[in-house]
């Protein structure tokens, strides 16, 4: 029995060593970047170029802010300008740059029962959905997409009654599937909608509005571990000002570009900053 217990102990010690944290840089980012597949491409490009291991925790923007505040990650990449502004105002931001953007889309059943395709603006489209008695599926998870949806309801001045506003509490892809099953409207990013277009019955119905611009920022917080700060800033610069921009520009889903690199000449240092509305 003694040899057995010694074997167990040795095994435990070896496992402990095998399982402790490698010297990798930890990044929290949003599910939309991860689900689109862009993140994998960026991570691989960076690891190949710089020889630094990245560990990615994919979560909603709200939780990404939390992990940053708590000091559990060195860098956060989010798409929620209001939450980002709050961090800046609290003095928690060491480095902030916009990295890229795309657009939110209001999608819905191809027949468009609320007639939002002809809406004058994004909040007019949301008002039409609220007043037409149709169903809307919400992320309900404090993600960047959910924050934008809430902002649009506020500007619309009305929202669907609670039985017609379904909160999934899940990521973009499951939410799109549920919206498709229920023939409901939904606010989504272009990239995830493009990825799922083969298996769901939802059409992009309204998109041409500056309030649907979706901007992503890389942020290094003052709470990052001191030993991580230099590497985290180097990564953020690589993403926002370096070769990362080329990787983003070259990323396509089914031959379509789904993220635009941040345009030169547009202020990248403020959360409120928005690029010109792309024409397409």
């Amino acid at each position: 029995m003694i040899p057995l217990s010694r074997t167990l102990l040795t095994a435990l010690l070896m496992l402990t060593v095998a399982c402790s944290r490698a010297d990798a840089l930890r990044v929290a980012t949003t599910t939309t970047v991860d689900n689109s597949g862009l993140l994998d491409v960026l991570v691989r490009a960076y690891e190949d170029a710089e020889g630094i291991d990245l560990q990615i925790v994919a979560t909603g923007s709200g939780q990404a802010f939390n992990l940053g505040r708590r000091g559990d990650v060195a860098l956060v990449m989010t798409h929620e300008p209001f939450g980002e502004r709050a961090l800046v105002d609290e003095g928690l931001v060491r480095y902030y740059r916009k990295v890229m953007f795309n657009r939110f889309v209001i999608a819905g059943p191809p027949a468009d029962p609320a007639g939002i395709a002809g809406a004058a603006s994004a909040h007019d489209a949301m008002r039409r959905i609220a007043e037409a008695g149709t169903t809307f599926v919400s992320r309900g998870d404090r993600s960047g997409t959910h924050a934008r949806e809430l902002e649009l309801w506020m500007r619309a001045g009305s929202r669907p009654s609670s039985n017609r506003l379904i909160e999934t509490g899940q990521g973009m892809a499951p939410t799109l599937r549920i919206a498709s099953e229920r023939s409901a409207y939904v606010l989504t990013d272009e990239a995830t909608l493009a990825r799922l277009s083969g298996e769901i019955v939802l059409s992009p119905l309204f998109t041409g509005d500056a309030s649907l611009l979706n901007t992503y920022a890389a942020i290094v917080l003052t709470t990052a571990r001191p030993s991580d700060v230099a590497r985290a800033e180097a990564l953020a610069r690589w993403l926002a000002e370096g070769p990362g921009q080329t990787v983003i520009a070259g990323f396509e889903i089914d031959g379509r570009r789904v993220f635009m690199p941040w345009p030169a000449g547009v202020d990248a240092t403020r959360p409120e900053s928005m690029p010109e509305l792309p024409t397409s």
């Binding site: 029995m1 167990l8 095994a11 435990l12 496992l15 402990t16 095998a18 399982c19 402790s20 944290r21 490698a22 990798a24 930890r26 599910t31 991860d34 689900n35 560990q55 990615i56 925790v57 994919a58 505040r69 708590r70 000091g71 559990d72 899940q170 990521g171 973009m172 892809a173 499951p174 799109l176 599937r177 995830t192 990825r195 799922l196 298996e199 709470t223 571990r225």
Partner: protein, 227 residues
């Protein structure tokens, strides 16, 4: 249907990442079970020898804790291990060790409570023999645990099945980091969220087969022992 075929192709083609993830799952849950057994079996054995109200209280507490929700254990350890938590200096959040700690906590009450029951239910002669021989404590433990082994083995099996298939603690404590803390359950949740059904189904099949095979394997051995 095509998703199921793609899933089978993924398994048969020996996709390296699928097997790496399977390895992490087995490593994490296996280690958690090992820790829970090393502590839980002696604990259950010891409690079986105690009498009185305190012992009954501890025993019913253990039984209650077998229903510990996985996400609650995950949350609790998250706040303890987070960089701004009391154990933040250990730098354990989002590592396999954090997941092992969570799963060991989940497995421990099951192992201890069911060992306690197994020892208590041993026929009296086993106890009397052990007592009359005036054996050293360690030898007596081995003897009685050996007698109760079929039941304890089922307890370990149940504990393994619980932690191997749990998602809540693994995703909160591990963070589903690729190549590091991505396990079968966390990656299935991720692939489903991404909309990659083939991978989700392939990984689900592997999870199912391992969970069932471990059960079946041990059960047949157990059956032969009794025959």
């Amino acid at each position: 249907m095509t998703a199921v075929l793609d899933a089978l192709r993924l398994i048969v083609s020996g996709d390296a990442e699928v097997w790496q993830i399977t390895g992490v799952s087995l490593l994490v849950s296996g280690t958690a079970l090992l820790i829970a057994s090393v502590i839980g079996v002696p604990l259950g054995y010891w409690l079986a020898h105690l009498h009185g109200r305190a012992a009954r209280l501890v025993s019913s507490l253990l039984h209650t804790l077998t229903a510990l929700p996985t996400v609650v254990v995950g949350l609790l350890l998250f706040f303890l291990l987070s960089a701004s938590g009391p154990l933040g200096w250990m730098d354990l959040l989002y590592t396999r060790l954090a997941m092992i700690a969570g799963q060991a906590l989940l497995a421990l009450p099951i192992v201890a409570a069911l060992t306690l029951v197994a020892i208590e239910r041993l026929p009296l002669p086993a106890f009397e023999t052990a007592a009359s021989l005036a054996l050293p404590a360690w030898t007596r433990l081995r003897l009685l645990v050996g007698e109760a082994w079929p039941a304890i083995q089922s307890a370990l099996l149940l504990a393994f099945a619980r932690v191997f298939t749990e998602l809540g603690a693994a995703i909160i404590l591990g963070g589903n980091i690729r190549g590091e803390t991505r396990t079968l359950t966390t990656v299935i949740a991720l692939e489903h969220a991404k909309g990659d059904d083939a991978r989700a189904i392939a990984l689900g099949l592997i999870l199912l087969v391992i969970a069932l095979a471990v059960n079946a394997g041990v059960h047949s051995r157990f059956g032969r022992r009794r025959a």
